[in-house]
Symmetry: C2
Subunit: 331 residues, 2 copies
């Protein structure tokens, strides 16, 4: 295959790295997935990416001169001058990824662009996914945790401290007795992420078990509801809710109410043209989105109640699309 110019969009996750080769017009030509080697403080990650890029160029009979550049999405905050400020999942401290990567590839560092992974996924959905008819959007990914990326006027917003779009840490949950990994109490993530929903279900079980042990009424049995070991994933919780369990229902509805409240907060701050929801938990589909839409209408400020809440459409590829868009925009 021959072509004039190409660019890479690379999504670096804690487990795998997705490398996409794109044509100038943004068509995904080839995708490779390699493992993320987090050993030795993640010091092999950029070398592995270099090797993958060179391999793909070779396979496609492309020259380094044909390379418009490479965009990389990383799971951590990125300053406006492309310095990565700690990626705990990769083992990285403060790292100038543009400089390191350009030295490894022997190409000018201007050809390397870096962004936060959630911002890149947001940009991907804006460009080629569910957001392609909108100018501004908030993308939310509901997985193990909750990530988010904000697009305004077609550009990802990093924020003064790289924390824009971090709606997993909105301090809006009031009845929590658990700390978030960030050290605060009350983060959205603690009730609305996959991990949060499982923890929430376990907390109810613990509380009820303890209550019955402490003060069992004559007509009460020892707690014999759903068991913690049967609730290991958010799917288990959704299945429980679908089976009619009060525990499952409570945890799922709480998730939907708080997610809706979070979107209502976002609408009061930036009033985006649409919301896009992706990530593993969003795989529950339209039923879940409909519950969130229902609560959103009761919680949002009236000018914004019609703002569409859409499912993401690029799945795990969104990050690659966004990362390559950064490069193509700059070129």
């Amino acid at each position: 295959m021959m072509m004039s110019k190409a660019a890479f969009g690379i999504d670096i996750g804690g487990t795998t790295i997705k490398c996409g080769l794109f044509s100038e017009d943004g068509t995904l030509l080839k995708k490779k997935i390699i493992p993320t080697r987090t050993e030795d403080d993640g010091s092999h990650i950029l070398e592995d990416i270099r090797d993958c890029i060179l391999e793909v160029l070779d396979e496609e009979k492309l020259d380094k001169q044909d390379l418009i550049g490479a965009g990389l999405g990383v799971p951590g905050s990125v300053t406006n001058d492309s310095i990565v400020n700690k990626c705990i999942n990769l083992g990285w401290g403060v790292l100038n990824v543009s400089e390191t990567m350009s030295a490894l590839l022997e190409i000018p560092k201007e050809k390397i662009c870096i962004g936060n992974d959630a911002n890149m996924a947001a940009l991907g959905e804006y460009w080629k996914g569910s957001g392609k008819d909108y100018n501004s959007l908030m993308f939310i990914t509901i997985g193990t945790g909750i990530g988010g990326g904000l697009i305004m006027d077609g550009k990802p917003v990093n924020g003064a401290n790289g924390a824009a779009g971090e709606i997993g840490h909105l301090p809006i949950v009031t009845d929590l007795r658990r700390f978030c990994a960030c050290g605060k109490i009350g983060c959205l993530e603690q009730v609305a992420s996959a991990n949060g929903m499982v923890k929430e279900a376990h907390t109810y079980i613990d509380l009820e078990t303890q209550r019955r042990k402490r003060s069992m009424q004559p007509d009460e049995q020892i707690y014999n509801g759903p068991r913690k070991e049967d609730l290991a994933t958010s799917e288990d919780v959704f299945d429980l809710a679908a089976a009619g369990s009060a525990l499952g229902f409570t945890v799922v509805e709480k998730m939907c109410i708080y997610m809706a409240k979070a979107l209502a907060c976002v609408a009061c701050v930036v009033d985006p043209e649409c919301f896009i929801i992706g990530g593993g938990v969003a795989g529950q589909g339209e039923d879940l989105l409909d519950r969130i839409r229902h609560y959103y209408k009761t919680l949002a400020f009236h000018p914004s109640i019609e703002t569409p809440i859409l499912p993401a459409s690029l799945g795990n590829d969104a990050g690659m699309y966004g990362a390559v868009k950064l490069v193509l925009d700059k070129a």
Copy 2:
């Protein structure tokens, strides 16, 4: 006085209209305040502004040719194409202010700019006030209600429905038994604005009075704490708190906690470089700001905990500065 070019920055409030004449470099040369005539659906307002502009031009021996333009801040939402979509306080329905004003003044409509009043105040503070060292900021005005304006990369953000920056309607208050004027329950404004604080104090008094009437204990007296008629303004509530009253303290601390929580929400969404707080209630000064800062540090996501919370510095003139900036930016 002779000068080459000048522009007007006009802040239209529900009671008065502030008209400022500015030089090209943004110096306020002259300020006139005229009453807002809301009768006849506010149909005289733009005529009154025209008369005021012509009068000032005449006084300053300026010609209409010397006029760069006029910027107007209005208390309502403004679309990106300068249509005002209802200003309840002025009596206006949907109105194309640029067209009407340019016809009245007989100048091209491109010379008339319109913005939301809180956005204009935000832009004013960004340009000439406390925000002049920052690129992005969230401005909050705490008065009868709570208004807000968001500046990103030096530009006011309107939002898809004109609702960006409307943090008075963040749905974050969970223990409210009152509706907001917007029809929702749980708006920040209901506990953190001047009106909200007074209503909150009155609600406590009502509840306690009713409780004692219903079930007075032998050692209890009829309610004889602070009286509703003595708590007519937020200053009364602040005075009560300063005098050591539990009621005053509770209402003031609640206001500070929820305001801090609102700022923490804003930080998770757009992560601005600073917050600027203005409006009548902010006139309580550094003590109040210090309480808000204290709670902000416990509630904000860690990357943003150092974000400065600053007092506004332009007072009631902020809106005029912002409105004229719109014109000067466009010229």
